[in-house]
Amino acid sequence: MTEQQSQFALDLTGVSKRYGGVTALNEVDFKCKPGSIHAILGENGAGKSTLIKIISGVVQPDDGVIKIGDDAVHFTTPQHATDKGVVCIFQELSLMPDMSVADNICLTDPPRNWLGLIDSAEQIRISEELLARVDCDDINPRELVKNLPLSRRQMVEIAKALGRNPKILILDEATSALAAADVEKVYEILKGLREDGLTLLYISHRMHEIEELADTYSVFRNGSHIETFEKGKRSDQEIVEMMIGREISSVFPPKPEKSETLPHVLEVENLNWTDRLTNISLSLGKGETIGLGGLDGQGQREFLLALFGVLRGVEGTIKVNGTETRISSPKQAKSDDIGMALIPEDRKTEGLMLPMSVRDNVSIVSLDQFTKGLSIDKGLEDQKINEMVEKMTIKVGSVEDSVATLSGGNQQKVVIAKWLMTGAQIILLNDPTRGIDVGTKQELYQLFRELADAGNSIIFYSTDYDELIGLCDRVMIFYAGKILKELVGDQINETNIVASSLNIDLSGPEKENAE
């Protein structure tokens, strides 16, 4: 029988899925070999998520046959899929925040004692073993997941998936929140799994991750499978064109020359907060874009939150337009005197009110502008909202639709739109392109450039080096809550950013206050 066995670990034939009138997947034929890391590429809305959901049993296809090895399968729940060895690490983390790390890792199939009850000691042992496998010995399995930082949670998620002995492992943006140091380890593990004959489906918006890992690429567009090819058969340019179905001129808009003496909009001196931020000083000029670089979790997010008045007990001086100010709440930060806007890290919890309409979300921060006496001037509000939706090219059927119905990229546009409505002069961006498709990224880069050219000042934190290089006039490398190095102009390149992020000494001008 062996020679008759399918050479494919996963084989989809004619799979379609429609949501109402929208076709999410159209007659997709898709095959994966065992012992392969298979990258799935495509813009948001290309059908990647639907494909993943079908393979992992979250949704059922309308048509088509799915075969795992030689068996045709019909998954009705994720549990079925797990039983067949299909394990998925989702983009939105699937951990229980109130439960311990060990409980999470052994969630579905915990070790039992002779009474059939969960054996906690064994569970902790298993967890320690799996965490050691992903080089996370520092995580105590008894700790609650909600007390871990995002990057550690993602490692727990990976450990959890490994614990289920998958045959087909799906990683949906599973590395988007990882710290750079962990990424290496994860690569090593994934390559090890490939050697063991597993099939890995890998979805990421970061091209260099895909180049590093994947051996086979499949491109999807508008719910159809465009092409599957081996690594190296197509150039990056060709791949991107296949994904968006049109040619793109350049990734980042050109940076204009900056004059040396920009008037300072924001000056920060010796900012301290608990043990997470130490002596942060920087000054931001009008129309300037400063990037915050470094490994994940070195205090960049905290710095932005401190500026925006979210943190308690911040020491140091902050001057806006030369006047010393004490910002103690977001309400104060957005006021006309300060004019600050923060695009938060997590759009679903801190950026949007998901069940509310696009219109309500867009206008919520700037309602003051439309308030005449006691009531809101609906006409003016609608006009401004429509202008903004048009300007940002937010794809929405009606502005009355709830934000939850939009795709990730469009949701992020809503978050940005609502803050642009305030006419803020200082814009703080906290990793604004995380988990967003290539096309939307392009539009956002263009937008940030336009904002800077119009005289807005931007502080931009990104975990993607390319963005820092392409968009920023200066880059501050954070390390352990301090600014370790300042990179200016031509110094902003991948080598310098990576080297200084890891605190490796390459010659270059030291930031004076970073001893």
Binding site: S94, L95, M96, D98, M99, L117, N140, R312, G313
Partner: protein, 352 residues
């Protein structure tokens, strides 16, 4: 050391409720002329047991992020049923007790099924079924009364020695002066925790309850049987409430379909769960905290009996002021648990 600190951190709610109970009950024992004696312990245990059971019942749905507004009604239904069936021959008594608990568990099971398969809000479902269960209780027991086996009543509401005395058995010497002095309701409570709660807590279904309360979508995505856990949670709530109702019948020797009392028990059960450190959002806590929460809540009202009406704080003993003081103390107790927000340095964390 670090593990111990983690444990203390994760069980802060329970530890706080133990402290509150120790404080309030300590004050009562100090003020009561015969405080701290076996007789008082037995009396207090009897008066607290039903609330403990109803609070335990409330805890399980709360862990899933739901709420069960029918626990008081199920307790009352079980109480009314007990006054009809728990008498006669030993076999009949035994069957009657089993029936009370089984019917209550079934009532909870129905709640769970309607919530899971009807995809309805727990609060609305249990509000409605609670009214149904009260209706059944009134049908079974239109006026207070009925008959509950006297011997069993005696045996269940004193100390363990009394069981032997009631049925004329010899008390073993080693037993009489030690274990024998434990109030029977407390012994039953320990038995229920060991035989029902602890196994449930460490089963996959039980853990599923915590997972649902913590992040239901993630629980489903992880391949847990979400529906089964939720139904189990409400069934267990019915079971605990049923035991409470049965005990109330043994304690009073009769049944009473008392509608206001059912409502009061439901509300107090929520208060006990909160004092016991469980999160009303679900996912964190457990019945052990609720047990101490219920005991703390009852101890507060015990205190009103022992304040000297002629003393400087005599006005506190005025029964008309009792709800006002109980409410105030409840607020203070809950605030103590929330005090840690003052340490939060990141204001975003305040919104959990």
């Amino acid at each position: 050391m670090s593990n111990l600190r983690l444990w203390i951190n994760q069980n802060m709610g329970v530890l706080l409720s133990v402290c509150i109970f120790a404080l309030v009950y300590g004050l009562y024992s100090f003020l009561h002329p015969s405080g701290g004696t076996g007789k008082i312990f037995i009396q207090n245990s009897n008066e607290t047991f039903v609330l403990i059971m109803v609070a335990m019942a409330q805890t399980v749905p709360v862990l899933t992020g739901g709420l069960d507004l029918s626990v008081g009604a199920v307790m009352t239904m079980s109480n009314a049923l007990a006054s009809v069936v728990v008498n006669g021959s030993p076999a009949e008594i035994f069957f009657g007790m089993f029936l009370c608990v089984a019917v209550s568990a079934f009532a909870g099971f129905m709640n769970g099924c309607i919530i899971v398969y009807g995809r309805l809000q727990p609060i609305i479902v249990t509000l409605a079924t609670g009214a149904v269960y009260i209706g059944i209780a009134l049908f079974l027991r239109p006026t207070p009364g009925g008959k509950v086996d006297g011997d069993l009543s005696f045996a269940a509401t004193f100390d363990l020695n009394e069981i032997f005395l009631t049925y004329g058995w010899d008390i073993p010497k080693w037993f009489e002066g030690s274990i024998g002095l434990i109030p029977t309701p407390m012994a039953i409570l320990v038995l229920i925790v060991v035989v029902i709660w602890i196994p449930f807590r460490s089963s996959v279904t039980g853990r599923g309850c915590y997972a649902i309360g913590s992040a239901e979508g993630a629980a489903y995505m992880s391949g847990l049987n979400v529906g089964r856990s939720r139904i189990a949670a409400y069934t267990l709530a019915g079971l605990f409430a049923g035991i409470g109702g049965l005990y109330l019948a043994l304690q009073t020797g009769s049944g009473n379909a008392d509608v206001p009392q059912a409502g009061a028990y439901t509300l107090n059960s929520i208060a006990a769960v909160v004092i016991g450190g469980s999160s009303l959002y679900g996912g964190a806590g457990g019945v052990i905290g609720s047990i101490f929460g219920a005991m703390a809540l009852r101890s507060i009202s015990f205190n009103f009996r022992v304040f000297d009406a002629d003393g400087p704080f005599g006005f506190i003993s005025d029964p008309l002021l009792q709800p006002l003081f109980e409410g105030t103390i409840l607020l203070i107790a809950v605030s103590v648990g929330a005090a840690r927000v003052f340490q939060v340095k990141n204001r975003l964390k305040l919104f959990g």
